[in-house]
């Protein structure tokens, strides 16, 4: 249903994967839940062919290799390195830089590497507050000492940041985790020798609504805001019209509107469309426009405000995956 985006039409004859040789692939996780590593399996049997056509040089979740092995590789010897996870610790940043040095192309794989992801929501609080919350009052900030004074745990960075904040990123395969169609799109381009010119996001330029099968009515409006557990949504109608905050209008398509099709509002994991900019402000202005009553007029303003006040956790709703990217730096 979803056509490849118009963006993939901009192709260039990348030197990376030479058809005659297997591209050298690295996959690494930084601040990650591990879901991204598992996500490759979602493409099904095709993964077998994919893996047979690449040479894995580094993938901690799959093959045993140490940091020293990576350091030993000559610069630029990896064709493509996929990095998933947020950059949360000093070690995350070091590894990202190391991979950058060893790789021709860096791919931010998944929402955390792309935009900061869910872990970056922690930065609503400062680093010290996070420590205090997690480890209790007596905790002293600073790198914790190692067992025998040699190996020390890496310190946290001041903020959990997307990959592009520490290294140059060439490609993005977005999603939490990336959905199968986009993984296929990426490997299809890589193995077909048709990688688009970087930088490029392997998702649609148009918003999710384009591929959503739900019906949007001419006179759409929101008269109350509800959360998913409070209603059984009508299977046909746009979820926004039913008061569920669906981030579809500000979010890139490419997943075939998987969540809305299943009755769950889109939470925005593919990231904002290129011209939407900050997804929170874009969604808020769309919401402010949709929240209204049949009769309009100033007397309805307090009522409309009341509707918006029912919005629980605006930060988590609007920036569930993108707070690291769009938060204002302190």
């Amino acid at each position: 249903m979803s056509s490849p985006t118009s963006l993939t039409e901009t192709r260039h004859s990348s030197p990376v994967p030479r058809r005659d040789a297997k591209p050298k692939l690295a996959v690494y996780w930084t601040g990650s839940c591990g879901g991204c590593d598992v996500s490759f399996l979602e493409v099904g049997e095709a993964i077998v062919e994919v893996l047979s056509r690449v040479e894995i040089v580094f993938w901690p979740a799959l093959v045993d290799a140490k940091r020293s092995d990576l350091e030993a590789l000559p610069p630029g010897s990896i064709d493509v390195a996929l990095i998933n996870g947020v950059i949360r610790t000093e070690e995350n940043a070091e590894m990202a830089k190391l991979l950058r040095a060893k790789s021709k192309y860096i791919v931010a794989y998944g929402a955390c590497a792309h935009l900061g992801g869910v872990p970056s929501l922690a930065d609503r609080w400062g680093k010290e507050e996070i420590f205090r919350e997690v480890f209790g009052k007596g905790f002293r900030p600073g790198p914790p000492p190692g067992a025998n004074g040699e190996a020390a745990l890496p310190d946290l960075l001041d903020a959990a940041v997307p990959l592009e904040d520490v290294v140059r990123v060439d490609y993005v395969v977005p999603g939490c985790p990336p959905p199968a169609p986009l993984i296929s799109r990426f490997f299809g381009a890589l193995l077909g020798g048709e990688m688009p010119e970087p930088p490029h996001v392997f998702a649609n330029v148009k918003a999710l609504c384009e591929e959503c099968q739900r019906v949007r009515h001419d006179d759409r409006r929101i008269e109350r805001i509800v959360r998913p557990h409070e209603v059984l949504p009508d299977p046909e109608t746009c979820l926004l019209e039913q008061g569920l905050i669906c981030m579809g209008p500000v979010t890139r398509g490419g997943c075939n509107a998987l969540c809305p099709a299943a009755g769950m509002p889109c939470t925005g994991c593919l990231g904002p469309t290129p011209e939407a900019g900050d997804p929170g402000t874009a969604m808020l202005s769309a919401l402010a426009s949709l929240v209204r009553f049949e009769d309009e007029g100033e007397e309805y303003f307090p009522k409309e405000d009341g509707v918006l006040e029912a919005l629980a956790d605006p930060l988590g709703t609007f920036y569930m995956y993108s707070f690291g990217r769009f938060r204002r730096k302190r």
């Binding site: 148009k206 609504c209 949007r216 746009c238 990231g271 290129p274 011209e275 939407a276 426009s289 990217r325």
Partner: protein, 681 residues
Amino acid sequence: MSKRSDARNLSTRHPSRVTRRGQRIGVFVCHCGHNIAGVVDVKRVAEELSRYPGVVYATDYEYMCSDPGQDLIKRAIREHRLSGVVVAACSPSMHETTFRRAAEEAGLNPYLVECANIREHCSWVHNPGLEATEKAVRITRTMVEKVKGNMPLEPVEVSHADKCLVVGGGIAGIQAALDVAEAGYEVILAERSPTIGGHMAQLSETFPTLDCSQCILTPKMVEVERHPNIRLLVNAEVEEISGFIGNYRVRIRKRPAYVDPDLCNLCGECEKVCPVRVPNEFDRGLLERGAIYIPFPQAVPSTYTLDEETCLGIKPLICGKCAEVCEPGAIDFDMSEEVIEEEVGAIILATGYDLYETKALPEYSPEDPDVIDPLQFERLLSATGPTRGEIRRPSDGKVPKTVVFIKCAGSRDPELHKPYCSAICCMYTAKHALLYKHAVPDGRAIVFYIDIRAPGKGYEEFIHRVMEEDRVLYIRGKVAKVFREGDKLIVWGVDTLSGQRVEVEADLVVLAMAVVPPEGVEELARTLRLSCLDENGFLKEAHPKLRPLETLAGGIFIAGAAQGPKDIPQAVTQGSGAAAKAISLLSAPVLTHSPEVAEVDEELCSGCRVCAPLCPYGAITVEEVAQVNELLCEGCGTCVAACPSGALSLRNLDDAQVERMVEAALAELEGAREAVEVKGG
């Protein structure tokens, strides 16, 4: 690498439009006599702007809008090869057109000219001094930044249909139809009832001249019927209006009359044999009619008509007596509904008014046959009415010796009824009282009123005549209750001038009911997809002072009481006025519209439909992607602000321009700051 690169850097093919290179902007600061120069240091503004990036020429002049002022701009455009012009003067709503035209004459695209409003937004609202000058500099800089991002544009042009639809065949609609037809354009006049004429046909005589209403109306009705450019559709309701200015598609549903107007010879035999008797609408229920009937003898079209609602039954035919006696064979039970679709360029809505129902005022015993509404009284006064002009009360046919007129019945009562003044009641009540006194010289006419409003030509004199010459008793005060006691109606009121309670034994009570919008006008408004009704349900004009005949939908005009209570001269004036508006539209070779409208980037639009329901002009439709009708769009920007994908933008006011304008407005003013320091030191 930038620490926080824009998301757009990753992949967008739509970089925001960049400022055109090699800009040569001219800035012209207007004194507006003392209006601006008395508050703002205009020389200083020009001087500051002359140092602003992109500005190659800046000057000031006493009156930029004057011919020498315009010449100054034209000369500078040529001599300095200006690529853009900012006139720092009054609001663009005043002279934007003036300066754009001047620039065009000098060979510069008019859309590269902008006004910086340093009068309404600055000099008029601030005290003289440095701050005002500083603000003027900021405002002007802002517009320089806008002009830098402006693109040369051409007006949008579109062809149009050359017919006009007039909805409603009362006096306003009749006048409008005749004027448009006389100008040579085809008119479709759609009237809901079986005849044109409207309420004016029901009236006896008209204030303040006491002309016979039908005598002055019927010639116009006949003219409508005979006019080669007018296609008259009675029993017809406008079902749907779609499209846009100059290109409206209308669907009109015409109920069958079951009588061929060309064959009907008005003999009236059909009505005599009709077994049905129902109240006659034209006589406000004072008389009865058959299911087949003619509303009144001079009805246009001049024909009997069969009302299928009250007929015993047509499909299948139950009675058929009328057809048996119809000599010319004009009755045809097989007639069926017609749906007429037409393309029209302009639409005039003259849907008229209704009276607020008397039953809304139970304290006045509205169910009593001798408590009547003003149109019923008009019928009693009319020579063609149920009593042939003799005033007899409905209950027993006696001549009433005391008649009480209650004004503001339902009007000027925001708590319980209508908040507005119905405008015509003062005058027709005076007329009613006068005509009653003429018909029953020994009778008593008593008028209860709150205020007397008589601002028309000859109106105040008329009221005086009624009070002084015809000895009508005016009591200032409201009536609390009307109730029957035997043969009489007891009216309890208060005289607020004397502070006394008043009790009158009346034979007849006339309630000057509020004028209200007619039934069905809401559906009509809905089909226009516009918020075109005011809080009382009347059609809303585009601007109460300057655009009283227009709606917010281009090419749709309003005339007469559809917009609010009006008397006949006002309704006729509006009919002619709306006709003139329609004619000027229809006579234009093509319609042009400002190109400064919203546009959709189809590569970005996902069709989420956030925008469409917000558009106050109904300019957006969404299929796969949103589309903006350039002729309907007024460039308000509501959709642009709402669009979550950034797919909508305003031509010559895109996001990048706005961002630069904001930066220019907030940027430090070096010179001004120094001056403040000097002043402070």
